[in-house]
């Protein structure tokens, strides 16, 4: 099958508008709470700012006069001020508490929303998406990328909001006290900004490079761990170690650079802040000496020592806040890149389904008239509304399948099927034979519309399958694939996957039919044995038997077996075959098998070569024809 595994670009920058979109997601569900959070942030921010000037006010209003007129004259003021402050603090604490709790709710709620959205979208994506995307990349969207988003919403965002507010507040205070000194601060702010851009930018760049080399290194680990047994068999350990060391070294380099640039930012900014502190003190006092008139929102007047001291307090506050914000920059860049990948998945085009013919339970009277019914009758019918005439017709589901001049290709330039025509009457067993890549599996992929044909028609009970509602089409087809996928859960639950309301007895009956009952009962907990890691503890053959049981319990009118018994030994296979033949009596079966012994009793055998049917007929007819099948059967010819 044509595959084009495109690696997602880790280390790619976020798309524009990602932040806005993320914000909208949060806003939609938590708009009110978000406003409350904002109010709380304001509250605790204000409390913080007041706290920073609180001491100065005590000094100015209580201590200084107190030093002159004695304690008794100011004790009332002092107590009142402390009580006022305590009240403000209580509100600040409450605000912080509410904010933290609400943020927990908002962050986790948004994460859940994103996860569910991704998953729900993923379930609707066409098979082509999964065939063209590396599974590890899809997984990393769920794990790494959502994790960065968690950090963004839960930590970076509140931090940035709080800090921004604090900066605005401090800055206003500065303007309030002195315009001249504020201008001096602005010079420092510009320097800080430049430093942040340089190191923060470099850190963000290397953070992404680190993500990329991490993905590479972990990818290598995964490949080599999966092939570890082969590595051992070939004494290939040393080469692997060497290759691994190269990747590991690169990762170490990028990681060092990323952290180096991120880590130094804080001390640099903090000490620029300290320098600013000293210079402002000197500058302020020189202003006093020079007798410059102070201009500020507080009015005009002489600069006093009190103003300078308060100003210096603000200055310390400002540089600390800037340090905190700067720490978030690389994180935010990474998180936005992660969020961007999350949205890419959510934005994928889902599988289209324009089908309007549905599958319903039906009753058949003596005259052969089909009517719809609520109860489960075991008879199914296609309900086919005709828009033009406004009528409804019912067609009994029989499993009659016709392919008419079907063309198909996975990628435009490589034709996989050309002019394939075939029919399967209800109850027939149709077999496909041919080399891998001849197009056998492709045909089955087209019948259940995992892929859509390019030209020609496929009819199911006379209805073009494009008109059939996809879920109903697929429900009517049972598929057993060569590569078995089991889900975490008990053996019983895995079998029940075929029919969710099946009783234990039905499941066991299906397992018996698939000849799986024997080994399942010998498992430590029988049918209640837990299957984990896609059935890692079971052999390939045992897993195939479970997947056959799973399809058997679904009991579909049409069954597709794609190399379903390839890993089962021939004796067991013969037994399974017998069971399946019993089950599928009167139903249509498509079989793909390498072992010709399993298809000998098929009603029709199609020999495929390079996407064309080159021979068709029963076993005996094909043998008599003495063509490809004959040569294949007698082992004198290779289909390639």
């Amino acid at each position: 099958m044509a595959r084009d595994i495109r690696k997602q670009n880790f280390g790619q920058k976020a798309k524009k508008g990602t932040f806005k979109r993320l914000f909208r997601y949060v806003w939609e569900d938590y708009g009110f709470r978000l406003i409350v959070v904002l109010v709380c942030v304001l509250f605790s921010g204000v409390a913080n700012v007041i706290a920073s000037v609180f001491l100065q006010r005590i000094i100015d209003e209580c201590i200084t006069p107190g030093l002159e007129s004695g304690l008794d004259s100011v004790i009332g003021d002092l107590t009142r001020m402390i009580v006022t402050m305590a009240t403000i603090y209580v509100f600040g604490i409450l605000a912080a508490f509410i904010q933290a709790r609400l943020m927990a709710i908002i962050t986790q709620g948004t994460l859940k929303k994103l996860r569910v959205k991704m998953f729900e979208k993923m379930e609707t994506l066409p098979i082509r998406y999964f065939d063209t995307h590396a599974h590890g990349d899809i997984m990393s969207t769920y794990t790494n990328d959502t994790d960065t988003v968690r950090q963004l919403i839960g930590m970076s965002l509140p931090q940035v909001i709080t800090s921004s507010l604090s900066i605005v507040a401090t800055f206003s205070m500065m303007l309030y006290y002195s315009l001249w000194m504020t201008l001096a601060v602005i010079v420092f702010l510009i320097v800080m900004f430049l430093v942040t851009t340089k190191f923060g930018g470099a850190s963000a760049k290397y953070m992404m490079a680190q993500q990329k080399s991490l993905a590479k290194c972990e990818g290598y680990v995964e490949e080599m761990m999966n092939g570890l047994k082969v590595v051992k068999v070939f004494n290939h350990e040393e080469t692997c170690k060497e290759e691994f060391d190269v990747l590991n070294e690169q990762l170490c380099h990028d990681g060092t650079e990323a952290h180096r640039n991120g880590n130094v930012l804080m001390p640099i900014l903090a000490n620029i802040g300290n320098l600013m502190y000293v210079l402002l003190a000197v500058f302020g006092v020189s202003l006093i000496y020079a007798g410059v008139t102070n201009v500020g929102f507080s009015g005009m007047g002489a600069i006093t020592a009190g103003i300078i001291i308060t100003f210096l307090g603000c200055c310390r506050q400002l540089s600390q806040t800037i340090g905190q914000i700067s720490m978030q920059i690389p994180q935010i860049a990474m998180a936005l890149a992660g969020a961007s990948r999350v949205f890419d998945l959510i934005d994928e085009e889902p599988e289209v389904d324009e089908g309007y013919v549905t599958l319903v339970n039906a009753k058949e009277d003596e005259n052969g008239n089909i009517t719809e019914t609520e109860e489960v009758t075991g008879i199914w019918a296609w309900k086919h509304p005709h828009k033009a005439e406004g009528t409804l017709t019912y067609t009994k589901l029989t499993g009659d399948i016709v392919l008419d001049m079907v063309d198909f290709s996975y990628v435009p330039e490589k034709q996989v099927l050309t002019d394939v025509s075939l029919y399967a009457k209800p109850g027939q067993k149709i077999a496909f034979v041919g080399a891998t890549g001849a197009g056998k599996t492709t045909i089955t992929n087209l019948i259940n519309r995992f892929y859509d044909i390019e030209d020609g028609k496929i009819r199911y009970d006379g209805i073009n399958i494009n008109k059939i509602h996809k879920p109903d089409l697929r429900r009517s087809l049972g598929i057993v694939l060569q590569d078995v996928n089991l889900f975490t859960g008990t053996v019983m639950e895995n079998i029940r996957y075929g029919k969710l309301d099946a009783t234990d007895e039905e499941c066991i009956a299906a397992a018996k039919l698939a000849n799986a009952d024997d080994f399942i009962t010998r498992l430590p907990d029988g049918y209640d044995t837990m299957i984990t890691g896609n059935g890692a503890s079971l052999s390939q053959g045992q897993r195939q038997l479970i997947s056959i049981a799973r399809a058997a319990v679904a009991n579909p009118p049409v069954m597709i077996l794609d190399e379903a018994t390839s890993s089962i030994d021939t004796r067991t296979e013969a037994l399974v075959q017998r069971g399946m033949d019993n089950l599928m009596k009167g139903r249509t079966v498509f079989v793909i098998a390498h072992r010709l012994s399993t298809i000998r009793n098929a009603e029709a055998i199609m020999v495929l070569d390079h996407g064309r049917i080159i021979e068709r007929g029963t076993h005996n007819e094909l043998i008599d024809m003495k063509g490809t099948y004959y040569r294949l059967y007698t082992g004198a010819f290779e289909l390639e």
Binding site: A100, V116, M139, M225, L228, V282, A435, I568
Partner: protein, 578 residues
């Protein structure tokens, strides 16, 4: 465990020690800074320029020193933590490379991958945290207390009184949260696991039309994860307000009592500048406490990861190459003497019981048997992928445990049932068999394995790039490439474990006849499902339930009319009509 992991610091020891040293200096400077700033502020009050310039000068010097220490600690921390993680990965990878098959089974591949990826990242973060913040905060705490005591002992008692209160609150909070988090992470893993299963099994989901069922299932898991995480984070949310409460209480107390003290003493016992320094130290003390509690949370979360990593590092493989093992394998003869084998000491049923068998060098042996009859177990003992539980296996007349492992595995080449090709060109893959193989060698083995024809049809021939997992070649092509790769080793014994199942009968026959002609001196063991693949072997073994049920040539076994006869009948039925 911690000692074990610290062993990975190695060449980054210097950076690892320098980081906290610089951090310590930085802390000292940071604590002196407010002290000098207070002096500066006091001198502003006097509006004299000289003391301002004097203290300002000291501050500038301190700031530059602090800048230097801060930058150096930052750089060293980056070097140390990235280097530590590198060594950790390195050690893990090398360790795993020394594992035997049973060790791999014991850990499982997916768990090994997690240990080498997620767990390493967790430990790395914790490590960086420890060498920077875990040094910084306690020092900060101690220095701040000392400094505030230097200013005024009585006032500093307020802080000292509050520290234990905070400590106890944080302790209980953290203990509760860690317990919850450990539980949640299991659920979180399970949720991601179900995504993984859906991605891999999307064809199953879609063909059974279980999209809605899966969505519902996932929705429920995601909701559980959300609920639990919210619960845990709400508890953590208590941390900050409690800390804030303590900070503010302390500040108010200090302000009130401090103001009273200043006025009462007329500014002699305590000055206004000193009061503001006291408050600065107070904030430093309490925020250190807060940081400290976060460090504990982080560290206990990394603990589990650290445990999992040490488990791998401490695991001693039982299957090791003997010292001075034999490096020459005389010939391709194989002997099993009363061999019994269990995969796991705990398993009740042995996989193989009491096998005695002798295969002369150069013979072709066919092995058939049902699913679970231990065919694979049998052959995996020959090149010592597993060690026997009882009895002994000899190759070339010598017990396999006496050979140097590498020499043994070079002489015994196995094409595994679950075989893999690696990302790289066909040539790269073939060279696994022999790194120094010439193009001629490669062509020769590909001809033998009947792979030459299709390789040459590829536009890039032998330089065709195989994608990860070998998804761009067909099953049959993959098997033939794997056989060619194994042949390139020029082995004395060649074992094919169901390696031609996806190859058509004709090619299968061609491969076998090429073997017969080209490598007659090599002992060949062929496990197959098709009777046709084994019927012309010199000896056929029929395995059942971990024992050799039948043994002999095709004709002998047919005459026995046992299992082999039955299998033969079922596979050739109808062929007589041809």
């Amino acid at each position: 465990m911690i000692k074990r992991l610290l062993g990975c610091v190695r060449e980054y020891k210097k950076a690892t020690i320098l980081t906290p040293s610089y951090v310590a200096m930085e802390v000292v400077l940071e604590c002196i800074l407010p002290f000098v700033m207070a002096k500066l502020i006091n001198s502003i009050g006097t509006t004299k320029m000289e003391p301002i310039l004097y203290y300002g000068g000291i501050l500038v010097v301190l700031a530059f020193a602090s800048l230097f220490c801060g930058v150096m600690s930052a750089i060293n921390a980056a070097i140390a933590s990235a280097g530590f993680a590198k060594n950790l990965r390195h050690d893990l990878f090398y360790k795993v490379q020394s594992f035997g098959f049973s060790d791999i089974d014991a850990f499982s591949v997916s768990s090994l991958v997690t240990r080498m990826t997620t767990d390493v990242t967790n430990v790395q973060n914790a490590f960086q945290m420890v060498i920077r913040i875990a040094v910084r905060t306690p020092l900060m705490l101690i220095f701040s207390v000392v400094m505030s005591m230097l200013i005024n002992v009585k006032m500093s008692l307020i802080f000292i009184g509050i520290i234990p209160v905070l400590g106890i609150v944080a302790f209980f909070l953290i203990r509760k949260v860690i317990g919850i988090f450990k539980r949640i992470f299991k659920k979180y893993d399970a949720m991601n696991n179900s995504v993984q299963e859906n991605v891999a099994g999307i064809r199953v989901v879609k063909s059974f039309v279980r999209e809605d069922y899966e969505k519902k299932k996932f929705g429920a898991t995601a909701e559980e994860v959300r609920f639990d995480f919210t619960y845990a984070e709400k508890i953590i949310a208590l941390n900050q307000p409690i800390m804030m409460f303590c900070i503010y209480t302390a500040m108010l107390l200090v302000s009130f009592l401090g103001a009273k003290l200043i006025i009462a003493s007329g500014g002699t016992v305590l000055s206004t500048g000193e009061l503001s320094s006291l408050i600065t130290y107070g904030i430093q003390i309490l925020s250190s406490m807060m940081m400290l509690s976060m460090v504990f949370v982080m560290m206990s979360m990394a603990e589990e990861s650290a445990n999992r990593i040490s488990e791998v590092l401490d695991h001693e493989s039982h299957l090791i190459s003997p010292e001075n093992g034999k490096t020459e394998v005389a010939n391709g003869s194989i002997e099993f003497e009363n061999v019994s084998f269990k995969y796991n000491e705990k398993s009740k049923k042995p996989a193989l019981s009491d096998i005695t068998l002798s295969i002369p060098s150069g013979t072709t042996v066919g092995i058939i048997g049902g699913t679970g009859s231990s065919k694979t177990s049998l052959i995996q003992l020959i090149n010592r992928l597993y060690d026997v539980t009882e009895g002994s296996v000899k190759v070339g007349g010598v017990d396999v445990r006496d050979y140097d492992l590498e020499s043994l595995r070079d002489a015994v080449s196995v094409v595994l049932q679950k075989n893999v090709l690696f990302s790289g060109t066909i040539k790269d893959n073939l060279r696994w068999g022999n790194p120094g193989a010439s193009d001629e060698d490669m062509k020769r083995v590909c001809r033998l394995a009947q792979a030459e024809e299709f390789i040459e049809q590829f536009p890039d021939g032998y330089d065709t790039v195989i994608e990860r997992g070998g998804v761009n070649v067909s099953g049959g092509q993959k098997q033939r490439l794997c056989i060619a790769r194994a042949l390139l080793k020029k082995p004395k014994i060649l074992i094919l474990d169901d390696s031609t199942s996806a190859v058509d009968t004709k090619t299968d026959a061609l491969i076998r006849s090429a073997f017969k002609k080209e490598i007659p001196e090599t002992t060949k063991l062929i496990i197959a499902q098709r009777v046709a693949s084994v019927q012309d072997a010199d000896m056929i073994l029929v395995m059942e339930g971990g024992m050799i049920a039948e043994q002999g040539t095709h004709e002998e076994l047919l005459e026995k009319k046992g299992i082999y006869y039955e299998v033969f009948q079922s596979q050739t039925k109808g062929k007589e009509a041809v």
